[in-house]
């Protein structure tokens, strides 16, 4: 698409000053993902970027002063709970790959905030498929990979959106990678970790040190902080201290069932607040996951079989985990080659059609995702006072041949079909 046609489309759809605009979105099938029955007719009123009111039932009337939008299906903005979109660029050349600082297996001190490029083509691409919020996570190579952040996929109407304008929450989680990838990254250079044993040991050692570091600082603060006795600052340990104290959730990115087990072992040992990502073989160990009470961010299931650890992937994983009583969301993760990003809507469609069902699948990428990430006060359902993050479809959201008609982020139309 030519930039000029995008500008024209944007000009047509956002003709008025964006913040002044109030919308009334009516739907034949409104999925609020709030309490109550889903999929009936209704209307969402939007003012000043927030949801002003939600009315369900037939015969709603668009009030004066609101621009009307009608959709066959209307849902909350979708939430991708784990993705490298924004830091792993579309061109896939060294210039735009900023997701893996694979110079050191422990990069607890790095933060996706400092790699995020909202101008990357994929950043806008995922918004056009309904993603309004995403947790951006470091890549799969380091056992201790760094801090994630939660961002909107579009922001205030200005030529350039800064990270701070897009951020919903910085330091939203610390990412740990287990399994094949870290040991393949370092082992081939005869550096640690060469084995899964070492990956686990390195994580345990770092968490132990972080606990001691935290204790040292706590003691110093209790002793009224003599500046001369102040403990030395260590950025890695400081970042991990938040994890061992339970302030920052840990996310273990895991594929094989035994790696999932290792994550649960470490999470239990250090009393972490944690969750699992990818979880490819989660279905094989779901009883243990349920007992541990760990939420699962279920990985993109249309990923090619890149390695041994994903060879038991099943389209039914999300359904099996959900039916076992485990809180689930769906994620797209990191992709190393073509296509450079997965589409959350498309991945979830496969789960929906393979046992999960339409409404639970929608839940997994809206309100459940928001609750797992702890951002359900702002987004995840269509409820009064929440951000006006909304997707309008011309058919069943998961059907291959349906279209996203409009996407709104905080009350602004950020995507209009036909505009790109």
């Amino acid at each position: 698409m030519k930039p000029s046609s995008l500008l024209v489309a944007m000009a047509l759809t956002v003709a008025l000053p964006a913040h002044a605009q109030s919308f009334a979105i009516t739907a034949d099938h409104l999925y609020t993902m709030d309490a109550g029955p889903q999929g009936g007719p209704g209307m969402v009123l939007i003012r000043d970027g927030k949801i002003e009111d939600v009315q369900t039932g037939a015969g709603v009337t668009v009030p004066n002063g609101y621009q009307a939008i009608h959709g066959l299906y209307v849902t909350p903005g979708l939430i991708d709970t784990y993705t490298s979109t924004g830091i792993s660029g579309a061109y896939n050349i060294p210039a735009d790959q900023d997701q893996d600082e694979s110079t050191d297996p422990n990069t607890a001190d790095v933060n996706v905030r400092d790699s995020l490029n909202p101008e990357d083509k994929l950043y806008q691409y995922v918004n056009a498929y309904g993603v309004t919020t995403m947790q951006v996570t470091p890549g799969p190579r380091n056992p201790i990979a760094g801090s994630a952040g939660i961002f909107k996929t579009a922001g205030p109407d200005s030529p350039f959106r800064t990270v701070d304008q897009l951020a919903v929450r910085l330091n939203s989680a610390m990412v740990f990678n287990l399994g094949d990838t870290p040991k393949e990254t370092y082992g081939s250079n005869h550096k640690a970790p060469v084995t899964r044993m070492k990956t686990a040991e390195m994580i345990r050692e770092a968490l132990l040190q972080a606990r001691q570091y935290q204790e040292k600082w706590d003691r110093w603060k209790e002793e009224k902080g003599d500046p001369g006795k102040r403990p030395a600052l260590d950025m890695k340990l400081a970042a991990l201290a938040g994890v061992v104290s339970g302030k920052t959730p840990a996310i273990f990115n895991v594929y094989r069932a035994d790696d999932i087990d290792t994550a649960i072992r470490i999470g239990t040992e250090f009393h972490l607040k944690y969750m699992l990502a990818s979880v490819t073989e989660g279905y094989l160990i779901r009883d243990k996951i349920r007992q541990a009470g760990v939420p699962c961010l279920v990985g993109a299931i249309m990923q090619p079989f890149e390695n041994l650890q994903t060879s038991n992937a099943t389209y039914e994983n999300a359904a099996l985990l959900q039916q076992a009583g485990i809180p689930i969301a769906i994620m797209t993760g990191y992709v190393g080659y073509v296509p450079k990003s997965r589409v959350l809507l498309f991945e979830t469609a496969i789960a929906a059609a393979n046992g999960l069902g339409t409404e639970p699948a929608l839940r997994a990428i809206t309100i459940s995702a928001a609750k797992i990430l702890g951002i359900d006060d702002r987004t995840g359902s269509l409820a009064k006072g929440k951000d006006a993050d909304i997707v309008v479809f011309d058919g069943d959201p998961f059907e291959y041949t349906s279209h996203v008609q409009q996407v709104l982020v905080q009350g602004e139309v950020t995507y209009q079909r036909g505009g790109r």
Binding site: A90, L122, Y283, L284, F305, N307, T314, E316, E399
Partner: protein, 455 residues
Amino acid sequence: MRKTKVVLMAAVCLGAATCIALVPLALAQTDHDNNVLVIEGGRILSITSPPIEHGVLVIKGGKIIAVGEQGKLQIPAGATVKDVTGKIVMPGIVDSHSHIGIDPNPTVSDSQDANEGSGPIQPALRALDAIDPADPNIRMATAGGITTANIMPGSGNVMGGQTAYVKLRGTTIEQMLIPGTIGGMKMANGTNPKGYGSRGQAPMTRMEEAALARGIYEKAQDYKAKWDAYNKAVSAGDKTAKAPDRDLGLDAVVQILEGKRIVHNHTHRADDVMTVVRLADEFHYRVVVHHGTESCLVADELAKRHIGVTFTMIDAPGGKPETINFSISCPARLEKAGVKVAFNTDDPITNSRLLLRSAALAVRGGMSEDAAIKGLTIYPAEMLDLQSRVGSLEPGKDADFLVLSGAPLSVYTKVLETWIEGEKVFDRSNPVDLRYATGGFNVISRYPQLQGGGQ
């Protein structure tokens, strides 16, 4: 399934539109035949004729012998009749670009045999010498409704080797190969063959890729001229004529020049597509554009030469610079320009269980449903010179067909059964087969203890 006793119907077709074929003599002359399979009651998408709402497909000896409207064809006594009322019957899918068997599952380096990275021109290589018929990806492909595949070497070389046209059945490559076919020739340009450049070897540029391609065709022309002269001398009775040295690679390239072997050319950027066109014009060979990410930008050039595109439907742009302009609307734009479009998996780039989905996404991008379904069946068959055998449900063609639970392009539709030449190769109601459709086939022995999912 049920066995009929006697079902005698008048073999008269009243409406030409609803009766594709008169019952052939072989069937009409006998009123009893135990070797006939009848698939009846389903909505039949024959592809080359309008859909039949309540259709009958009559099969014998692995071939289709009749297609028509239910109640209007004579069915011999003793035939096995399978009722698929409420289901959709369509031809087996033809995947014109796949690496199943040659890049097996799981992807580990020991078993990757698609790219012979020892030199950019490899016409003597045959994919069939590296295909593992036991690769689970092949069973997964049948779970996605694929019955015929063009299994190809990779795109790391300018000329990567001879491709194999196979049916997805059998335990040896000989059983898989379609009799009488020699396969195509894989070629590639753009980014991938430039991989040699990072090792200081040629090709390092697109210019060199084209020069290498031109070089091998020049050489083959020369080789062919020598053989033509020799054969002419021999047929003129010259007993002293000396045969030129045989060259395995040039033999295969000569088959391209003679129109017997189609070039399957991996290419993405529009200027690379035009390099493919330029070479084909120069050496007068038949070519299919593979991937064709930007082919819609030069759609008219392709249309006027009747060059088809087999499109790889990926989910997002990028992954490398030459795919940055990927759009799901490209197939629709090609259709509008009059270019025939097929869809391929490029497995493992997209999964073979999801090729129906690729056509569906093209419809999302504006393509007609008719062209999208043809892009899974008759168009790829034409691109492989297999249209007389596969790609539609017509008398005389191979009995390769699918039974679907619903509309072919819906996410909720399941491939229920896949048949190749009258034999069932996939059955979703079989618990083992099901795990090839959904996943987890390696742990099938433990799977029965797991509850729920899927069904």
